[in-house]
């Protein structure tokens, strides 16, 4: 699988999707490697860390991507933006059906590098950030995650969330302020000294 990923690393998501639409399974493998982790990460954040449900959402979003491939209109939308939007809608539907996933439900992130001190500190910081994110209103959490963790641009986020760019800026600004305040008490645990 690494081989397929390397072979396609310079090919855009869109070209891969068109190739899959023409029946190219190598393109499907490359897209799976590239996009499934991002869909899963977004779903996990939006659903408050419910891993099994996030996996269901990621699989469903990717299935919709496969189905849309033959009719994909090149140049109209970015594949990632489209996918994030589908994930966001699927998560919103699920959250509406089952309200109230508490912070307690957030599982401990799996540590891929046990024993490494830097890895442990990263894990502790990520866990604290997860807890603080879970305390934000849903829209703020989504906007902050897409902007600062996924690294998307404000116009992309606006398209995904179906709102204006200014609304995105406002949501991310308020979200970041709330995070900064919520995490203030944990400075020492996070490894930041008091100013």
């Amino acid at each position: 699988m690494d081989l397929a990923l390397d072979a396609f690393s310079s090919v855009s998501d869109e070209l891969l999707l068109v190739a899959f639409g023409n029946g190219d399974m190598d393109a499907a493998r490359a897209l799976t490697m590239r996009l499934t982790p991002r869909a899963l990460a977004q779903a996990a954040r939006m659903l408050g860390g419910d891993r099994a449900e996030a996996e269901d959402v990621a699989q469903e979003a990717m299935l919709r991507l496969w189905k849309v491939a033959p009719e994909w209109r090149q140049g109209e939308a970015q594949v990632t933006t489209w996918l994030y939007r589908v994930v966001a809608n699927l998560c919103t539907d699920r959250l509406r059906k089952a309200r109230g996933v508490g912070i307690d439900a957030i599982p401990e992130p799996e540590d891929d590098r046990p024993g490494a001190e830097a890895g442990l500190q990263d894990a502790a910081r990520a866990r604290a950030l997860d807890a603080a994110l879970a305390g934000l209103p849903e829209r703020q959490r989504q906007a902050v995650s897409l902007r600062h963790i996924e690294g998307l641009s404000n116009p992309e986020i606006a398209e995904i969330m179906d709102i204006g760019v200014e609304a995105v800026e406002s949501l991310t600004a308020r979200g970041k302020r709330a995070l900064a305040a919520a995490l203030a008490d944990q400075r020492a645990e996070l490894g930041y000294e008091d100013g």
Binding site: L31, M62, A126
Partner: protein, 123 residues
């Protein structure tokens, strides 16, 4: 008790980076399920044209009833010939109809022969 200052943007960015670094990789089983879906969709899409042949249209049904394209060609030829005959009004028919209506009592043999002499007269 003094409130602690909020985290700075730099510190927050550091947390976001930590979050990105620790994002767990998707389970291989999930990747396998996603790929299996792709294979199913690809297979369904290549099979689709055979599985769902387009329903027969009105034109196809009419053609079938008259024997396909050769039948349609014959029908068109006959229609055009009929129209030409109607427009030309051969003399034989004129003779017969006018005399019949005029109560003529005898017809010559050539009255029954088709003639298009009228078509060639200068008008």
């Amino acid at each position: 008790m003094a409130e602690k200052p909020p985290l700075s943007d730099l510190e927050l960015d550091d947390l976001f980076a930590a979050k990105r670094r620790t994002a767990p990789a998707p389970a291989p089983a999930l990747m396998a399920r996603v790929l299996a879906d792709a294979a199913h969709v690809a297979a369904a899409q290549t099979a689709a044209p055979r599985a769902t042949a387009a329903p027969e249209g009105l034109m196809q049904r009419i053609l079938g009833a008259i024997g396909g394209w050769p039948g349609a060609a014959g029908l068109v030829t006959a229609s055009v010939a009929g129209l030409a005959i109607g427009l030309a009004t051969p003399e034989a028919i004129e003779t017969l109809t006018s005399d019949y209506l005029g109560a003529a009592n005898a017809f010559e043999l050539d009255d029954f022969m088709p003639s298009y002499g009228g078509l060639f007269e200068e008008g």
